[in-house]
Amino acid sequence: MAETTAPLTTADGRPLKAALAKAQSRAKRRAFLLVLPLLLFILLTFAIPIGQMLQRSVYHDGFSKTSPNLAAWFDANPQGTAPDEAAYAALAADLVLMKENRLAGEAGTRINYSVPGTRSLFTASARNADDLTPPFKEALLAADRKWGEPLIWVAMREAASPWTTDFYLTGLDMQRSADGGVEKVAETNRVYLWLYVKTFLLSAVITGICLLLAFPVAHMLATLPMAKANLLMILVLLPFWTSLLVRTTSWIVLLQGQGVVNSVLVSLGIIDESGRLAMIYNQTGTIIVMVHILLPFMVLPLYSVMRVIPPSYARAARSLGATSWTTFRRIYLPQTLPGIGAGVLLVFILAVGYYITPALVGGADGQLFSNQIQFHMTKSNWSQAAALAAMLLAGVLVLYWLYDRLIGIDKLKLG
């Protein structure tokens, strides 16, 4: 019995585990060296930028780097303390600093993100900062009455530290109230949350339409003889070989008011001249064009799964007495689930992040969340863009997690 408990050794008495590790270490090292370039590439171009993006969404030093005096005063006085003479003195000193370093614009921009319309307050006051004399409270309020507004003081308190949740608050349609708490923005100014929900809803609709359209196509491809199936597969893939921009603009030609589709409908007498359909530069346009562009991503995984389902299953079900509908529902459909899962996940995630198509054909109401990200990027508000992008990422991750819980990621079959 003793020999069963003692660790096994090789013929020369070394422990078996150590011998095995030594024997395999060379092969393992070589395998690692082979993947090293890809690993470095992913790290440099993917992991680091995403980490930086996430950091940017909670970090902005535009104000904090030129406001040491204010930061000291905020540290000494808790939230809710009314700004006293010492506070205004600190502000005046920081304004002088801003002027010296020519950073008033940058600092103003940061506060402007939280309280719109305040950038000029900083640039104007900093320009005359050297002329300020005590008592600073009167002097600053005389220069601009806005310096007395509690909201600005709340915003400055938050911005005095580079680490902030302000950008996420904005992304969630919230703002800081005058007493330092958090409140919802006015109803007319709420943009992001509804757009966020709408982006996921539209993506779901697009994914659903893609699934309905792709399923029969994939089934036909899978049941045709190989030669014909390959030919038709080229037709499915053809759009991939055309520029995304060209495909999108050709839809504009087709769908616009004076476009091909409307003209045909008018000439057939189905609609009259005044009733031309608005199919582009709105939500409808976004849906039509995105379905077209994303369809191959649904067809391919479905096809790869359907191709390997032997026709004998359906035949067996039929011979056992099932109608064609029962056969489809209980035998065929369950076996295509890995393909449906892969296609749905792929199309949905691509749709959630889609930017160029809604930008071109979406008009006013066909814009998606990504278009807001792009908007903030062009305005150089990188932190806000990063916060919105992180929200999108979080949404996708939550759905991915749900998918894993409900269906299981191991059931995914991409090809």
Binding site: R315, A317, R318, S319, L320, G321, T326, R330
Partner: protein
């Protein structure tokens, strides 16, 4: 069992033709009557049309012409799920996403059967194939032989009167195949069902069937019980397809009263029974089974013509000794004799004289 008329047949094919491409016929004028309770095997090389016939009977292919009747009812227009025919597929076609129990439950559920009744039937069907303990397994967790049994149980669980089997044992190893042949035969006899069985394995066809239909080139070449098929093949194709066979090409020299004298291409004369030759001067192929050849003079029939033979090779196969000889210019003339205690051992190079009973040599069509 051999004479089933078209009127009382359980399954009847009448002048059935099938074409896939509109250019050539895969099945050419098939006429076949199968009696209730019969075990009929469709045997033939691949591409001979046997599987197509089975698929037409199951309803997965439509006959281009002709009528198929089941229990007196024409079924050409009846969809497969209304035919009530059980079917066992080549690769079993067990639904991979269902357990064994669910697989068996499926045909009962689509028939709207209640839960209790379903469970009784599933249990009975599984016990029938000795798989009672496997109801909760998935098909992928079973061995080939076990999957085969489940497929069989599933095809039988809804009590079909007719069961079709499409090369059901093709994927099993030899021992398991022989065992399953016996099991299927036992089920057929105990349940009294009608079985139409498709195979390209002649051994399987001979051991299991009441009758065998040998298919080639879209036609039934011969429809007969196994013994007839083996001992009295009606044409050269059947003679060569079923079992091992020696063939001697020649010309009919004399023909009278069920006996023929055939002159071989090398000049010798041999005795034969005319099967599908009728006139002097016809080309023929004489077929003799290797085990019906005698080489001991005392066993040869009186007055029979003999042939000179040279032993080329003796292969020891355990139960039999297979001797390859040069006869009438051909190098692959085979003689088989049982490996008995007193058996004469032949040696390569030995010159012997061989002969046979005239009824064992069948003068068939020349091909």
């Amino acid at each position: 069992m051999t004479s089933v008329s078209g009127n009382n047949a359980f399954v009847a094919f009448e002048h059935v033709q099938k074409s896939y491409d509109g250019v050539s016929l895969v099945v050419k004028d098939l006429n076949l009557n199968i009696a209730e309770g019969e075990f009929l095997t469709m045997l033939g090389p691949s591409g001979s049309g046997k599987t197509t016939c089975l698929m037409m009977l199951a309803g997965f292919e439509t006959a281009t012409h002709g009528e198929i009747r089941l229990d007196g009812r024409p079924i050409n227009q009846v969809p497969p799920h209304k035919r009530g025919i059980g079917m066992v597929f080549q690769n079993y076609a067990l639904f991979p996403h269902m357990t064994v129990g669910e697989n068996l439950s499926f045909p009962l559920e689509v028939r709207g059967m209640g839960k209790d009744e379903r469970e009784t039937r599933i249990k009975r069907a599984l016990d029938m194939v000795q798989m009672g303990a496997f109801a909760n397994r998935r098909p992928a967790q079973l061995s080939g032989g076990q999957q085969q049994r489940i497929a069989l149980a599933r095809a039988l669980v809804f009590d079909p009167k007719l069961v079709l089997m499409d090369e059901p044992l093709g994927a099993l190893d030899k021992q398991l195949r022989e065992h399953m042949q016996f099991e299927i035969k036992r089920l057929h006899e105990s349940l009294g069902i009608t079985v139409v069985y498709v195979t390209h394995d002649q051994g399987e066809a001979l051991t299991m069937s009441d009758r065998v239909a040998v298919f080639n080139d879209g036609r039934i070449q011969q429809l007969a019980p196994p013994a007839d098929l083996y001992e009295r093949p009606e044409n050269s194709f059947v003679a060569q397809f079923i079992g091992e066979n020696n063939k001697l090409p020649g010309t009919v020299e004399e023909i009278a009263e069920g006996k023929a004298l055939v002159r071989l291409e090398t000049g010798e004369l041999i005795d034969a029974t005319p099967v599908n030759v009728s006139a002097k001067g016809q080309k023929t192929l004489v077929s003799i089974r290797p085990e019906r050849i005698e080489f001991k003079p005392e066993l040869m029939p009186a007055g029979a013509h003999g042939l000179d033979a040279e032993v080329l090779e003796v292969i020891y196969m355990g139960d039999i000794l297979r001797t390859r000889m040069r006869v009438a210019g051909s190098d692959d003339f085979v003689l088989k004799c049982r490996n008995t205690l007193g058996q004469t051992r032949l040696n390569p190079g030995e010159k012997i004289r061989i002969g046979w009973h005239p009824q064992d040599a069948r003068a068939l069509d020349a091909i």
